[in-house]
């Protein structure tokens, strides 16, 4: 583990402690014992929320780094891939039909949406292992599921359902419970393990597809591993927190100057960086002096949009 990774891990730990303490009510460390009545805030609200912020951030950061390495494109994002909007459509369906009153149904639908999109992507991309086909298929699935989500929104049975869908789509970690933790975290961990196993193949891909194949990489197996890994991490993240964009795009860029440009070297730092970014951001939206809490998804987009623009401008300068 490099020094940068160790520092990041330390930062994540500090952010986690801060996140448990921070909010409209500050809970000092000495009130975390069961004797104190405020400990219920810690155990039932802050702790699951912090764990979700850590897990979702790590999932998005790592899947972003894996996607950029796989597509060999620094502008790739796990959302490109259709899984995120597929999961969102699944969740919106459960809201549309009013099933969301059951705590397990919304994440269940979201995971089903992610799995269905993943299966469609794997079927379309087929055995070819082709990057262009894969990217286009991902984009088309994103567009189809996006339009279905818009359809559900426009046909929502009650204004209440419509507003519920709208709010959910913005992405947040507000009022999450241990239910979401139990559903999402194991899947995220599994997905990250799958992505970690692609590290060596992603490195070989740095030299192009033909060289990678000559070095023993099976492009079809690699593609399948990337699809399954991203579907598990991103699908479970959306199931828990809704759509939170830009983390997967930004974080790999932020860690690359310290971790190096080799794709495998960015996977773990990007996971830590994502966990750090999302945990800090989630603590800040809780602390922000707004009447109702600022949605985390919106906060990340407001941060991510300008960053993306900065990235494009600096790339343009380098290419010019």
């Amino acid at each position: 583990m490099t020094r940068a990774t160790t520092l990041l891990a330390l930062g994540v730990l500090l952010a986690a402690i801060l996140s448990v303490a921070a909010g409209k009510v500050w809970v000092p460390l000495d009130a975390w014992t069961a004797a104190d009545p405020r400990s219920i805030i810690i155990v039932e609200l802050r702790l699951p929320r912090t764990i979700l912020a850590l897990a979702v951030g790590a999932a998005l950061g790592m899947s972003g780094a894996a996607m950029q390495g796989y597509l060999r494109n620094p502008l790739a994002d796990p959302g490109l891939f259709g899984v995120s909007s597929g999961a969102a459509f699944g969740a919106v369906c459960s809201l549309y039909f009013g099933y969301a009153a059951q705590t397990w149904l919304l994440p269940g639908f979201a995971l089903f949406g992610a799995a269905a999109t993943m299966a469609a992507l794997a079927l379309i991309a087929g055995r070819s292992g082709s990057l262009i086909l894969f990217t286009l298929a991902g984009m088309i699935l994103t567009s189809i599921t996006g339009s279905l989500t818009a359809l559900a929104l426009s046909l929502a049975p009650t204004p209440f359902a419509a507003s519920e869908i709208m709010t959910w789509l913005m992405g947040a970690l507000t009022d999450r419970s241990w239910n979401e933790v139990v559903v999402s975290v194991p899947l995220i961990v599994l997905g990250m393990a799958v992505l970690a196993r692609t590290a060596r193949s992603l490195d070989a891909l740095t030299l192009g597809e033909q060289a990678a194949r000559s070095m023993g990489v099976d492009p079809h197996r690699l593609q399948l591993a990337v699809i399954v890994g991203v579907a598990l991490t991103v699908g479970a993240s959306v199931a828990a927190a809704g759509v939170i964009g830009f983390v997967g795009l930004i974080v790999p860029h932020l860690v690359r100057p310290f971790a190096g440009h080799r794709p495998s070297a960015t996977l773990l730092p990007a996971a830590l960086g994502g966990a750090l970014l999302l945990t800090v951001a989630d603590s800040l939206v809780r602390l922000a002096p707004t009447v109702s809490e600022l949605r985390l998804g919106i906060a990340m987009s407001m941060l991510g949009g300008p960053f993306f623009l900065y990235l494009l401008i600096s790339m343009r300068r380098r290419l010019a």
């Binding site: 060999r72 060596r200 490195d203 070989a204 891909l205 740095t206 030299l207 192009g208 033909q210 060289a211 194949r213 000559s214 070095m215 023993g216 990489v217 099976d218 190096g260 440009h261 080799r262 794709p263």
Partner: protein
């Protein structure tokens, strides 16, 4: 040293027949040049030898075993392949690039001392040690070609298959990288190159295979194959050959026959 061989390889790519019953035996410790016009099937034959294409008929063998039937990591350790495209998709430094050549050898727990030693030897052999910390985006074309060659050499392959490794280099660098390839063969490995420059082939190659329309026109020792008649027939050109004052053979295409 195992023998690398194409045994009756026929290959169809995108509906087009690119190789037709190609039989060639390559010897270790020698540099073999594959020559022929564009589309003659040189790169396809090289990729077949590396196990990257599934031929319609025939097979590539290494020491009698079919290359495509070998487990991928074992194949990658024995056959080093340098593709024509000089792609390096991230701005990694040269040392990291060269270390990628050790991936087929890498155990579960990362780099071993043997991996580091092989990478350093490859850097030294290509004269790239001084560039080890430089990002690939900041290399000249010649330096990049040498760094990519070092990547393959780091894998210590028995066979080095290189697709036009000299194409983008100026004459000085062509001679320099060419000398490195000859040194690899002198070390006992087999080297197979796709080359376009006839004079470079005459200078570097021990053996030459001439291809035309996916078929072998001639194969054998360079001095037997690089004749005006055979080279002329391969390219459909009138060719003059001769020897310079220093004993270097040269081949000059002078035009279409008739």
């Amino acid at each position: 040293m195992s023998v690398l061989a194409a045994e009756g390889i026929s290959l169809v790519l995108g509906g087009k027949r690119v190789l037709e019953s190609v039989d060639v035996v390559f010897s270790g410790g020698r540099v073999t040049a594959l020559l022929g016009s564009n589309g003659a099937g040189k790169s396809s034959l090289l990729a077949c030898l590396a196990g990257l294409h599934a031929p319609e008929a025939g097979r590539a063998t290494l020491g009698g075993a079919e290359v495509r039937a070998m487990p991928a990591p074992a194949r990658a350790r024995r056959i080093g392949f340098l593709p024509q495209a000089a792609d390096v998709h991230w701005n990694i430094d040269v040392a990291t690039l060269v270390a990628l050549g050790r991936l087929p050898w890498r155990g579960r727990w990362g780099e071993t001392a043997a991996d580091c030693a092989a990478a350093e030897a490859a850097l030294a052999a290509t004269g790239m040690t001084a560039f080890a910390r430089r990002g690939v985006e900041h290399l000249s074309g010649g330096e990049r070609a040498r760094a990519l060659l070092a990547r393959v050499l780091a894998g210590e392959p028995e066979w080095l298959l290189a697709d036009e490794p000299l194409a983008s280099l100026d004459p000085a660098h062509q001679l320099e990288v060419g000398a490195q390839l000859r040194a690899v063969a002198a070390g006992g490995s087999g080297v197979v190159l796709v080359v376009h420059d006839l004079n470079l082939a005459a200078r570097l190659a021990d053996d030459v295979v001439l291809l035309r329309d996916g078929r072998v026109v001639a194969a054998g020792a360079a001095e037997d194959v690089l004749t005006a008649a055979l080279v002329g027939a391969t390219y459909g050109l009138t060719v003059e050959t001769g020897v310079t004052a220093t004993g270097q053979r040269y081949i000059v295409p002078v035009g279409r026959p008739g």
